[in-house]
């Protein structure tokens, strides 16, 4: 029996997003025993997470005095010391560490588990990532617009599991009827239509304004003849009160009033949830409740959008969107972009989407907004398909190309036109002239990168030769040249955003090189240069296909424009 330890102790949403991985592990290793190390703040979520055989809770909070007095360091030390021993005792075979914190990296090292997927710490304390997909996970924030992989898929791949196209999961304890008394208490009868509103968010900056939520809730509730449930955490009670008082339609304010089990039950009872990017959204994805999501500021649907079929996400179409994490915007203009009427319109489209999964809408609708729908594609990865059929931007095209390239490398089995079909079905074609110009320009940039990587590879070979002959001075010389080439690669990635995925992965790959043996370091660096060459070759080829296709398809719907 394989014993597997999974570390994911950050937020509630992250835990729910781990559920397909856990299901995948159970399938891959029949009869395995899975232990999850979770955070005490989300212990109740862990209780509802299926496929966990054992649960270990990390509770450092107990040592933090509520009266503001200082935490006793010795107590925390002893707790962690004991935790390490308790986690070593079972003799785990596999560790999947999805937390990229230094804490989990240090813990991973101490546990000394034979097979590690994810973050761990080297003997000298450097953080290393031991899986190419988790390297990707650590990298993608540097090229967000070129990434179309959802966190849930990355977690699965990082854990060594191929995505199965199934939604996130939550278990409801008991016979499912436990919510009945609460519904009665809240005045919700069996035939009532109910919608849910989640107006709060763990990051205050990401909230759509409360007055807009109130108006949108009124519009949707009125259209559907539905009751409205207001959800949220205890800290959001004031917000809930605000929205409740602003609404004209009758609403049931349960903000801060529900246990997790009750929340799951109530969300399941809703036919629709209108929400920011929140943990409640992931609960809705797990319960099968349809979602209209508002992704603003830092939140970006491809990355953390709801992992279930048929949801609609609205995002602002702005050059500065999405924001970098950990930045403070001076204006937050994106919060004002989406109107309550548009949310109501998206809510109507949800039902349409269920009947017509390939729904497209006119480009003129939802002006200055990006509207996407969640969909499991033929590779069983979730994709946030654009609903507005309009001209693709450069990054839209390349994101699909990269998606195809990376999935092919990791999983294989994709049709050659996997990406092209998506482009053709969901975007207007460019004119052949525009496509040709773009193709030539972008391919040239990839060639430049390939050229740099080739030189890097040659330098590595030369260095290996010098090392074999013991010519240390030459080795140092070549080392300096290699540094110069690496800098050139980095600059190319910053100068041309389309190259950034490859250069950032290269950069992170180098950070993972902590070997003391120069020979091993050189061999591993060679692999990284080859990675760039593989990537550039692949992308040049795919881009060429796009160019050819565009020339052939000049009879299709086209849009005019320039790069």
């Amino acid at each position: 029996m394989k014993k597997i330890l999974v570390l994911n102790h950050t937020r509630m949403g992250d835990l729910i997003q781990t559920t397909p991985l856990l299901a995948g592990l159970k399938k891959k290793y029949p009869g395995c025993e899975i232990t999850l190390l979770g955070n005490v703040k989300f212990a109740d979520v862990c209780e509802h997470t299926p496929n966990i055989d054992k649960l270990k809770i990390l509770d450092v909070q107990q040592f933090i005095p509520q009266d503001g007095n200082e935490t006793r360091i010795i107590d925390v030390y002893r707790y962690l010391d004991t935790l390490v021993d308790e986690l070593k005792a079972p003799g785990f075979d596999i560790l999947v560490n999805l937390s990229h914190s230094r804490f989990s990296a240090a813990l991973s090292r101490l546990l000394d588990i034979p097979e590690v997927h994810g973050f761990y710490s080297s003997d000298e304390g450097y953080r290393i990532i031991n899986d190419p997909w988790l390297v990707y996970f650590a990298a993608f924030l540097a090229f967000r617009k070129y990434n179309s992989f959802n966190l849930v898929d990355l977690y699965q791949l990082g854990g060594g599991v191929v995505p199965s196209g199934k939604k996130v999961l939550l278990e409801e304890k008991g016979d499912g009827k436990s919510i009945a008394p609460l519904l009665e208490k809240l005045g919700i009868s069996e035939g009532d239509r109910v919608i849910g509103i989640q107006a709060g968010a763990s990051l205050k900056d990401r909230r759509w304004p409360p007055e807009k939520f109130a108006k949108a809730a009124d519009l949707v509730a009125s259209e559907r003849g539905a009751k409205v449930l207001l959800f949220g955490a205890t800290s959001e009670k004031e917000l809930g009160g605000q929205i409740s008082s602003m609404m004209k339609e009758k609403n049931i304010n349960v903000v801060g009033e529900t246990t997790l089990a009750e929340l799951i039950g109530l969300v399941r009872r809703c036919e629709l949830l209108i929400t920011n990017d929140t943990g409640t959204m992931h609960i809705a994805a797990a319960t099968g409740t349809k979602i209209v999501g508002l992704f603003l500021v830092h939140a970006f649907a491809p990355e953390t959008g709801p992992y279930s079929e048929g949801n609609i996400i609205l995002q602002p179409d702005m050059e500065c969107f999405p924001c970098y994490h950990n930045t403070t915007c001076p204006h937050y203009a994106c919060l004002e972009k989406i109107t309550p009427e548009e949310v109501a319109q998206a809510s109507r489209m949800i039902e349409e989407l269920q009947d017509r999964p390939d729904l497209n809408i006119d480009a003129a609708t939802f002006p200055e907004k990006v509207v996407v729908a969640s969909h499991f594609d033929e590779a069983n990865f979730i994709w946030f398909r654009p609903l507005k059929k309009c001209e693709p931007q450069s990054h839209n095209i390349l994101a699909l190309m990269y998606r195809y390239f990376f999935i092919s490398q990791a999983v294989g089995g994709l049709k050659d036109n996997y990406w092209l079909e998506k482009l053709n079905k969901n975007y207007l074609a460019w004119t052949p002239e525009k496509a040709e110009e773009w193709t030539g320009k972008v391919q040239e940039r990839f060639r430049k990168l390939a050229n740099a990587a080739s030189r890097g590879l040659k330098l590595i070979s030369d260095t290996e030769a010098h090392l074999k002959k013991g010519k240390i001075e030459k080795v140092k010389e070549k080392g300096e040249e290699i540094v110069a080439v690496d800098r050139e690669i980095d600059i190319l990635g910053h100068a041309h955003a389309e190259l950034r995925p490859l250069t950032r992965l290269f950069e992170l790959g180098k950070e993972n090189l902590v070997d003391k043996d120069i020979g091993i370091m050189l061999a591993k660096t060679k692999v990284l240069y080859k990675g760039i060459l593989l990537g550039t070759a692949g992308m040049i080829r795919i881009i060429g296909v796009w160019g050819d296709n565009s020339r052939k398809n000049n009879s299709m719907e086209t849009a005019k424009g320039s790069l």
Binding site: R72, V76, A106, D123, G125
Partner: protein, 604 residues
């Protein structure tokens, strides 16, 4: 041999410094015998005793029975015992017999001299540490007073209550600091007058046993000075300066959160917005402000004073009334001071005498009143030093340093090399002397601390601080000044006597250490036990390294790691991470666990 001879022989051997002072004082007392308040006499049992100011300081019957008076008050576990009042020593014998380490502070050189002449002090001088007057002040800073007890000898309360209270307050603060390990963050201005005061304050706080975390905003002064090069539009410039100050203010907030002090002390013109003061107070950290400016000239106190928990001023009276009307909290008078490690007497090097020596000198900025007033002194050997002087006019021709800034380490040479140091308080409105000027500038104390003679314009708040005619000389007009210059140039000994008295007074009462004690005493009295409790840095705090080691007994690897850190201080996770970063080779289990611990406690 007489008592005097025996006592003097022993004192000279044991405490040469005190002996020299005593000898010097004897000479003065001999000249002034008619004014002595001491009346030695013999008790019924034949022991020498005395009256002072008509009050008997020992029993007129059986003074030997006083030996247990102090001892009876001393707890068994006490370490050192400090006693205020030597008298003829009878009350101290019990302590010496019991072997208690005893320190005696005798406030009066007159009584000490009388005791030296009339009492058997042999054992006392050999076994006790004796301070006479204020010379205990410097010694008290280096002491750990956590196990020290302190008593007055009651008869002294009649005539020396003021001196006793001074010692008591120093003692209280020092004991408090021995126990509490206070951490004070001090914020400087970006530039300007209170910048030297900031440095003196930091040094003084450290000397009295406080852990000081300075926020030195002067680091940003070069950038701030460059801002006018960006635009000549005053509105824009003002906006940019405000944004710059806001940035510094936010930095101070972040710095406070990072360092978690027990108290924040902002110096005048510190770049601290009132909104940030509120936020720091919201962290339950008291914030104090030392306004070392003239409230009539710089008015920003109106905007900022009510924001602070404590507001210290160098002026009283009218200023206090105005502050009360504004609703300012906990206002207290705290005049400027001198820093004895900078402002000190020394012999100027031979090769520098030509540069710095003169009969008369002035060190300071060329304010309008000074530029005018000094025209009346140009017939003297007069050197001027400082900045912002009009070098083109007649007074300007006396400026030695061409308006270049001078550091304190240099200008103390001027004070030491000059026969008469002139001090004239600045004014932008008046010519000459402000006849109703109140506050006292730092120069008063700095010059005196160099044991240098000074003539200063009369100020309303001078006399409680320095006694005119004895410790300092004053003038109200040019003619009075010229008279006194002529007199003191002709009378070296008198000049030196005044300088010596002023010097002793400053060391006793007007050092920055003394000011910081006064400030802390005021704050401690208001905050009570909560000061220093915010982050629980008491010596019994569980996070003091030695306490962690004690609890970690049994985990030898952890104990060994902790031995890398100061056992008396709280364990700083920042220092732990630095230590781990400096290491080589594989991380140990202890180091890895500390990495995890640092993460979880930082994220909380």
């Amino acid at each position: 041999m007489s008592f005097r001879e025996t006592n003097e022989k022993i004192l000279k051997a044991v405490n040469a410094e005190l002996f020299a002072r005593y000898e010097s004082a004897l000479g003065e007392m001999d000249k002034d015998q008619g004014n002595s308040r001491i009346e030695p006499f013999v008790s019924k049992t034949g022991n020498p005793v005395f009256k002072f100011g008509g009050v008997a300081y020992h029993s007129a019957y059986k003074p030997l029975e006083e030996s247990g008076v102090i001892l009876s008050m001393v707890p068994e576990e006490a370490g050192e015992v400090w006693v205020f009042g030597l008298g003829y020593g009878y009350h101290l014998n019990g302590l010496l017999d019991k072997g208690k380490k005893t320190v005696v502070v005798e406030p009066s050189m007159e009584i000490f001299a009388s005791a030296m002449a009339n009492a058997d002090l042999k054992h006392l001088i050999e076994k006790c540490e004796i301070f006479v007057g204020d010379d205990y002040v410097e010694k008290i800073y280096a002491r750990d007073l956590s196990r020290t007890v302190f008593f007055p000898y009651r008869p002294y309360m009649r005539h020396f209550e003021k001196e006793f209270k001074k010692l008591e307050s120093s003692f209280a603060v020092r004991s408090y600091l021995s126990e509490k390990r206070l951490k004070v963050m001090v914020v400087s201005p970006i530039y300007g007058g209170s910048e030297p005061t900031f440095r003196y304050v930091c040094r003084a706080l450290e000397r009295i046993g406080v852990e000081v975390i300075p926020f030195d905003a002067t680091f940003f002064a070069p950038s701030f000075m460059k801002l006018p090069e960006i635009t000549r539009n005053e509105v824009h410039l003002s906006q940019i300066r405000q944004l710059f100050t806001n940035m510094l203010s936010e930095s101070i907030a972040a710095f406070t959160d990072e360092n978690k002090p027990d108290l924040v002390l902002a110096m005048a013109q510190a770049p601290l917005e009132t909104s940030v003061v509120s936020r720091i107070r919201g962290m339950k950290i008291p914030v104090a402000f030392w306004f070392v400016e003239d409230f009539r000239t710089l008015k920003y106190w109106e905007r900022v004073a009510p924001s602070y928990d404590y507001f210290f001023t160098i002026q009283k009276g009218e200023f206090f009334e105005k502050l009360a009307k504004l609703g300012a909290n906990n206002v207290a008078y705290l005049p400027q001071a001198a820093s004895p490690d900078v402002h000190r007497p020394f012999a100027v090097a031979e090769d520098e005498k030509g540069k710095y020596c003169s009969d008369l000198s002035f060190m300071g900025a060329g304010y309008k009143n000074r530029q005018e007033f000094f025209k009346g002194l140009m017939d003297y050997d007069f050197k001027i030093w400082g900045t912002e002087w009009n070098l083109g006019d007649s007074v300007g021709s006396l400026v030695q340093n061409r308006n270049q800034r001078m550091k304190p380490e240099e200008y103390v040479k001027i004070f030491n090399a000059t026969k008469i140091n002139l001090n004239l308080h600045s004014s932008t409105q008046l010519f000459g002397i402000d006849q109703v000027g109140d506050f006292v500038n730092p120069r008063v104390f700095e010059i005196a601390a160099c044991k240098a003679f000074q003539l200063v314009d009369a100020r309303g708040e001078l006399s409680p601080l320095m006694e005119p005619g004895k410790e300092i000389e004053t003038y109200r007009s040019l003619s009075e000044l010229r008279e006194k210059i002529d007199y003191y140039l002709a009378h070296d000994a008198e000049r030196e006597k005044v300088a010596e008295s002023g010097y002793r007074r400053v060391l006793a009462d007007h050092t920055f250490e003394r000011r910081m004690e006064e400030m802390l005493q005021f704050i401690i009295a208001k905050e009570g036990d909560s000061l220093g409790e915010r982050w629980n840095r008491k010596s019994d705090s569980p996070n003091i390294v030695k306490n962690i080691i004690a609890e970690a007994e049994g985990n030898s690897e952890l104990v060994k790691f902790l031995e890398n850190f100061d056992p008396e201080k709280p364990l700083s996770l920042g220092e732990v991470m630095d230590k781990i970063g400096e290491g080589e080779g594989s991380l140990s289990r202890v180091e890895s666990i500390f990495q995890m611990l640092n993460q979880v406690l930082v994220q909380k």
